[in-house]
């Protein structure tokens, strides 16, 4: 279904263009071939006809006779006593003149021959003189067709003609010395003879014409064949050109969530399409990656929820399985409450992350003193630090940033809680704030065992755990650092970590400094 429009837009269009080009080329070529063929075909016949006409011309000239006979043919106009031998203007032998030269409309010295006298003289000539030579028609058997002739005077009146032959209309005087024309199926030459006569020699041309038509038909058939072949080839070629696109389309169409691993085989593709396939493939790879991340995230989230739910079910079923003393029920309820609180924590974290993912963290930003936030966080977690025997040191310098104080406090608390929990006993946590060029910085250093370098790039990934089970008994959901990162990035900041094995880690939050220049407008008083 979806094939037609695509083919029409490309394959068909290519084909139409190709057809148009082919027709033009074939027609041009055919025309040239046919014109040439026609010229070749009639060339011999024309030569024969012309030589016949020349014979008649020479007869006419001979008939005019030499001037010393007082021929009225060449009367001297105002110059009596003019003689051809002396002048050399006319000799009987002049019939062997090269063809193409102007016929003698004059006496050779620019004096026209009066037609009237010439015609009278012509009429007096005996009929036997007007005969065409038998072998004038060349080689190809054309001489089997009997030629005919006719001679018209300057008035267009028929003066002489052969006994055979069709009716011959008086021709128009040719512009050059002679001209060829078709007369129905006959070929004729019209030659300007002496005394403004027109000599017409013709011959039936049915056979050469038939030859020509046969050739024309053959040429047309050939052209049609070439055209059809060209179109078929074009169809095949465009098909071949389009086939890889079809393959790409099919692969792309077959891709669904379950088959994101499918890739277009770019190996057999030409450079142009390989680029397209490569682009699609890298898009697929990115899609697959983010899809895999989502799947893993969902699996991890459900995995995290399973254990507290298992606790809930287990203890509820146990409590209900038989009558128990009141303190047992109390213990069961406490256990269930712990499980429920753990789930709530996880769900809250998940909600925050998904809000951050779609950019709906609803930050309530205002100018905030980060040093105050750090103090607040330290105050919150002092009990935990005491419990773990970890000392908290705060070294703050004024650092203000446009942040949501609640969310940023969550970040600081998360970092501080990690720093306390993963510290060594009798360890220390140092919290610093500072302002550098255009940025406000919070740093949290611990003296824990440090983090292996291979874990560092993944540390902010959701549910990433260095030790799969270590954080569980410390109450973490595995989302703390991911949440820190989401919140910091929503503020346009960055969170980074450095760690030295055996010495400790440093988490560093960089935030854009407060832009307002009116100091003291925003304070964090909570």
């Amino acid at each position: 279904m979806s094939k037609l429009p695509r083919n029409r837009s490309m394959r068909w269009r290519l084909l139409v263009w190709q057809a148009a080009l082919l027709v033009l080329v074939v027609m041009g070529l055919g025309a040239v071939v046919l014109v040439q063929a026609r010229a070749t075909m009639f060339a011999e016949m024309d030569a024969g006809l012309l030589s016949g006409a020349r014979v008649l011309e020479s007869v006419l000239m001979k008939a005019a006779g030499p001037p010393e006979n007082g021929s009225p043919f060449y009367p001297g106009s105002g110059r009596p006593g003019f003689g051809p031998p002396e002048s050399g203007s006319f000799r009987p032998g002049r019939a062997d003149r090269r063809p193409g030269r102007e016929p003698p409309d004059d006496d050779g010295q620019g004096r026209p021959i009066p037609p009237r006298q010439f015609v009278e003289r012509l009429d007096s000539l005996p009929a036997e003189m007007f005969r065409l030579p038998g072998s004038m028609m060349g080689r190809r058997g054309l001489d089997r067709e009997p030629p005919w002739f006719a001679i018209f005077d300057s008035e267009g009146t028929l003066r002489r003609r052969s006994e055979t032959g069709p009716a011959i209309l008086p021709p128009r005087s040719p512009r050059r010395s002679h001209d060829f024309r078709m007369n129905a199926t006959a070929r004729e030459v019209v030659l300007r003879g002496p005394g403004q006569t027109l000599i017409v020699v013709g011959q039936d041309a049915t056979r050469p014409l038939a030859d020509f038509y046969r050739m024309a038909t053959a040429t047309a058939l050939g052209a049609a064949t070439v055209l059809a072949g060209g179109m078929l080839g074009g169809w095949w070629l465009t098909g071949r050109a389009v086939a890889p696109i079809d393959r790409i389309t099919r692969t792309a169409e077959s891709v669904s969530a379950a088959t994101l691993t499918a890739r277009i085989d770019a190996g057999e593709l030409d450079v142009e399409l390989a680029g397209l396939a490569g682009t699609l493939n890298s898009m697929l790879a990115r899609l697959q990656e983010s899809f895999d991340r989502q799947v893993r995230f969902a699996a991890d989230a459900s995995h995290e929820l399973r254990t507290p739910i298992a606790v809930l079910i287990m203890h509820s079923e146990l409590a209900l399985s038989r009558p128990r003393p009141a303190e047992d029920y109390q213990a069961t309820l406490q256990t269930c409450l712990r499980a429920a609180e753990r789930m709530k924590l996880l769900v809250d974290d998940l909600l925050l992350l998904s809000r951050a993912d779609v950019g709906q963290l609803n930050l309530n930003r205002r100018g905030t003193d980060l040093a105050g936030l750090v103090d607040e966080a330290a105050g919150f977690l002092h009990p935990l630090a005491d419990e773990k025997n970890v000392r908290i040191r705060v070294e703050t310098a004024a650092a203000r940033a446009d942040v949501d104080p609640e969310k940023m406090l969550q970040v600081v608390l998360n970092l501080l809680r990690n720093a306390i929990q993963y510290n060594r006993p009798d360890g220390e946590v140092v919290m610093r704030t500072s302002a550098e060029a255009g940025v406000a910085v919070i740093e949290v250093d611990d003296t824990g065992e440090g983090i292996e370098t291979r874990h560092l790039p993944h540390l902010f990934e959701r549910f990433y755990r260095i030790d799969p089970a270590r954080s569980r008994d410390r109450g973490g959901s595995g989302l703390g650092l991911a949440i820190c990162q989401s919140i910091v990035m929503a503020h346009g900041g960055r969170i980074t970590v450095e760690s030295v094995r055996g010495e400790g880690s440093r988490f560093r939050v960089t935030l854009p400094a407060e832009k307002r220049d009116a100091p003291g407008t925003g304070t964090i008083d909570r």
Partner: protein
């Protein structure tokens, strides 16, 4: 029957231990992989409940190492529910796989089936002459009349009937019937045996002096 629970989540571990104890099993527990492996290779448990995500040594590692030396039935109890994990668990030597959260009934049923199969019994009802032992309902009747047994006594009957026709040594009884936390007073096997003889008839259990006990088929 003695069970080992290897689970790192304290609340869940506590619940499992209580559930199994109340169902008449002797139960040991371990909170991480190392402790779990140590116990699993030391005592001849009738079944092991094994979590996969464990601190110290993962459940996979525990299973792998355990299978090098023992054929103890293992039921994997985990939050990992992907097909790959289930297939891998069974392929690597686990006998069953249960995904959290689970129902206590299903867990107990699977555990019973596991122990029964390991002892070579296909059915959950074992008939020894006029004594019928229903392992699923945990009741014993003599000539159609139900007999009341304590949990300890039932565990002893269960063990002897599961291995009926075979000698069960005193050491085996100690290993399988009593958990690590049982006090020594309850360990008096002879007292339990005499109670069983009173309730099910003197001919139910035969004593092989100096070796142990046997329930003839």
């Amino acid at each position: 029957m003695r069970i080992l629970v290897v689970e790192d989540e304290p609340d869940l571990r506590r619940g499992l231990v209580q559930l199994l104890q109340e169902s008449g099993y002797a139960v040991d527990s371990a909170a991480d992989g190392n402790e779990g492996l140590a116990k699993a290779t030391t005592w001849p448990y009738d079944a092991i409940l094994l979590d996969l995500m464990l601190p110290g040594r993962t459940g996979w590692e525990v299973l792998d190492r355990l299978r090098e030396q023992a054929r103890t039935p293992v039921l994997i109890l985990t939050a990992r529910d992907s097909l790959d994990d289930r297939v891998r668990g069974l392929d690597e030597g686990a006998d069953d796989y249960l995904v959290k959260p689970f129902s206590s009934m299903e867990l107990l049923a699977r555990l019973r089936a596991l122990i029964r199969r390991a002892a070579g019994q296909a059915s959950s009802q074992v008939v020894i002459r006029d004594v019928v032992v229903d392992l699923a309902k945990r009741v014993v009747s003599v000539a159609g009349v139900p007999v009341e047994l304590t949990a300890r006594e039932f565990a002893l009957v269960e063990m002897l009937t599961l291995h009926c026709g075979k000698l069960v040594t005193r050491t085996e009884i100690y290993d399988h019937i009593f958990g690590e936390d049982d006090d020594s007073l309850s360990n008096l096997v002879d007292v339990h045996i005499s109670h069983i003889r009173k309730k099910l008839g003197a001919g139910f259990v035969r004593t092989l002096r100096g070796q142990g006990y046997i329930v003839d088929e």
